[in-house]
């Protein structure tokens, strides 16, 4: 984990040098992946040719997202194109997104696999002034803000804590076999919760992490969007 930690510290320093309070989606997922949280396969590209090559490797259909630091509502701003079935659609979407992206855009796009799954969860970490790093799990996607069904525990989490958190969700039945879907792999989900708490403990510069949605593909939750928020820069 030491090498992973060093890599994360480099990402944080680079963002700080640019004066940014957020890591990009791609960098946020690199942080998560370094701790074993399953994330989407994705490639950061600048040109149409690079995008097309990436999409062929990932396999269509793909998602295309304009890469902006800390853009929490890319969908609302029309900076996401989902389910692109081929190269023609991909190139068209790239042009549209570039036009919409605005002045802070540095010309980078994410080409990302489409994760199919009808169950969306959210997980996160927040540095509480009293209790230190705390881990959150809840219902995700568009339901996250409407239902506010979320449970917190203080890091470090034991496996038992993670299991117990899932049982404390009002909507916990979504983790069970429903409508022909298999039960969610609670072991895998629990490991992701433990991991997010560990990131908080290892990296005091990270103030909060949002993973939303965490889409359940088959039985396994995959981080589809992620945001790492940095704590205010220490006074020079």
């Amino acid at each position: 984990m030491r090498r992973a930690t060093a890599g994360i510290e480099r990402l944080i320093r680079a963002a700080r040098r640019r004066g940014e309070r957020f890591l990009s989606e791609h960098d946020s997922k690199r942080v998560l992946a370094a701790y074993g949280v399953p994330v989407t396969r994705e490639v950061l590209v600048r040109t149409s040719a690079e995008a097309a090559a990436a999409a062929r490797r990932i396999r269509y259909p793909v998602a295309l997202k304009a890469s902006l630091p800390g853009e929490a509502h890319k969908t609302e701003r029309g900076l996401v194109a989902l389910g692109l079935g081929g190269e023609r659609a991909l190139r068209a979407a790239l042009g549209t997104l570039r036009a919409r992206a605005g002045p802070v855009f540095r010309g980078e796009f994410l080409v990302q696999e489409m994760v199919r799954g009808s169950r969306e969860l959210a997980l996160g970490m927040v540095r509480d002034p009293q209790f230190g790093p705390c881990v959150m799990v809840g219902l995700g996607g568009i339901f996250a803000e409407i239902l506010q069904d979320a449970v917190f525990r203080v890091a470090p989490l034991s496996r038992g804590d993670a299991r117990e958190m899932l049982g404390a969700l009002r909507g916990r039945r979504i983790l069970e076999p429903v409508r022909g879907l298999p039960a969610v792999d609670r072991g895998a989900l629990g490991r992701s919760l433990v991991a997010v708490g560990r990131i908080g403990l290892d990296h005091p510069d990270i103030a909060a992490i949002d993973v939303n949605p965490l889409i359940v593909r088959g039985a396994t939750p995959v981080a589809v969007d992620a945001l790492v928020v940095l704590s205010p820069a220490p006074a020079a």
């Binding site: 996160g124 927040v126 540095r127 209790f131 525990r153 404390a168 909060a208 949002d210």
Partner: protein, 473 residues
């Protein structure tokens, strides 16, 4: 008194010798009330008094200065004004006194001058190497030692198995007066933390966790001084005995964290909820629960689970209180066939007996004692039932029957709490409550209360590993 190694707080809870610094012969002054309290509680250790005029106070000769005291005093209670406390703490430390209770107010709770004084006090405490309860507190109570440092007139505090940790002087003051005058239970230890300049809730919780006199711990907190340490200790203690908390105020995530969705959710008290649940702390939401739940826990053990039966003289109660059970997380299970057969044998044939038990018809056929007594024994013997509530119906026509049957029945089933409540004529209810509670059966004047209490006990049970034995007798 304690098993194992000495605890840093032993000198507070089991002192062999105590000095009151600022003792007074003037009735009503804190320096006088504290002396009277100590005498009223039958403290068996040595009691020394310091007063600059070396008066005789409550029959004890005071000394003019600390220098005149003998060596080896365990604890000092200081009732001097705030400005004198830092120097007094240093002087006490120099005399080898390691445990100090500071009553004075006028510190950080007031203004900036007070805050500066509190900072000075903090330095004095560290330099003198003493432990301090307070300042700005009424003090503490330790009934096994027949001791209190409170300057609120208390009289003799009855000994019991319940302990309180409170971020208010209330539990060595007015709330304790409520307990000693209105409640059937006594306390083991009670601490008013005051400004928590040194000893905090984590220290006391750690002490009470291993305290054989304490069977359940109640906390009233507005802030947690060392949150992660508190969680660590609570996690350990809550496996051994109930840790029940009323917490005022909520935690807020920082501004940076609020930039994320997770941080926004965290601002809603959810972090405190989660942290305390993780540590096995059972939260209550009402101040009166600090008494109601203690009333049960001092008399009965924890039930094995959340399944209740209740005896009701009215169909309306069976309906409304079943609804309440669902709302507070209690189950009202179907009874075993042999239990139903016993109940049906008592009842008129037109009533179909089930849980909850409508007892009205049986009382008409067999009289109060047999109807209630046999039905109570039947539901307590039922393996699907963890605890029982008896709703008594007393009027001038029924009078107050002998409740020996109820006490005997509860004692035959010590693993299953029996709680009593009333509907009917108030003066008979009060008489029955007084009679039953002196015999170890907790009673509640409002019909919802025993159910709310059992719900809290069931939540404690989900955490506490070893079954807590019911008190003897």
């Amino acid at each position: 008194m304690r098993t194992g190694a000495a605890h840093p707080l032993d000198a507070f809870f089991a002192p062999r010798s105590v000095v009151v610094v600022g003792a007074s012969s003037t009735p009503g002054k804190p320096g006088n009330v504290v002396v009277r309290n100590i005498l009223a509680n039958g403290f068996q250790g040595d009691l020394h008094l310091v007063n600059p005029r070396a008066d005789r106070i409550e029959g004890i000769q005071a000394r003019a200065t600390l220098d005149e005291l003998p060596d080896g005093i365990d604890q000092a209670i200081v009732t001097l004004p705030a400005a004198q406390t830092p120097a007094t703490v240093r002087a006490l430390g120099a005399r080898g006194i390691r445990a100090v209770v500071l009553a004075a107010s006028g510190f950080a709770e007031v203004d900036q001058i007070g805050a500066a004084l509190q900072a000075d006090l903090g330095r004095a405490i560290r330099e003198a190497g003493v432990r301090v309860i307070g300042p700005n507190t009424t003090g503490h109570v330790s009934t096994p030692a027949g001791f209190t440092s409170s300057f609120f007139p208390l009289g003799r505090v009855p000994r019991g198995s319940v302990s309180y940790i409170a971020q208010t002087g209330n539990f060595c003051g007015i709330s304790l007066r409520h307990i000693t005058s209105a409640e059937p239970f006594g306390v083991a230890r009670s601490v008013g933390l005051g400004n928590k300049v040194d000893v905090d809730e984590s220290d006391v919780l750690d002490y009470l966790g291993d305290d054989p006199e304490t069977r359940s711990i109640f906390l009233y907190l507005e802030s947690i001084a060392r949150p992660r340490e508190f969680l660590r200790i609570a996690r350990r203690v809550s496996r051994v005995k109930p840790v029940i908390l009323l917490k005022g105020g909520a935690s807020d995530a920082g501004a940076a964290a609020a930039l994320a969705h997770t941080g926004a959710l965290a601002g809603d008290g959810r972090v405190v909820d989660g942290a305390l649940a993780q540590a096995g702390v059972t939260r209550i939401r009402r101040y009166s629960s600090l008494f109601h739940v203690a009333r049960a826990l001092d008399a009965v053990g924890l039930p094995r689970g959340n399944r209740v039966s209740f005896l009701s003289p009215s169909g309306a109660f069976t309906v409304c209180l079943t609804d309440l059970c669902r709302a507070v997380g209690l189950e009202v299970p179907a009874l075993e066939p042999r239990t139903l057969a016993r109940l049906q044998a008592l009842a008129p044939s037109f009533i179909r007996m089930r849980n909850p038990v409508d007892i009205f018809g049986s009382v008409g056929l067999h009289g109060y004692e047999r109807a209630y007594g046999d039905a109570l024994d039947a539901v307590l013997a039922d393996r699907r039932v963890d605890a029982t509530v008896v709703i008594l119906m007393l009027t001038s026509e029924t009078g107050m029957p002998s409740f020996d049957f109820l006490v005997d029945c509860a004692r035959r089933h010590p693993a299953k709490p029996v709680l009593v409540t009333f509907m009917g004529e108030h003066r008979h209810n009060l008489a029955a409550k007084a009679w039953l509670e002196t015999r170890g059966v907790p009673c509640y004047m409002q019909v919802e209360e025993p159910f709310e209490v059992l719900a809290v006990l069931a939540r404690c049970r989900a955490r506490v590993r070893a079954p807590a034995p019911a008190r003897e007798g």
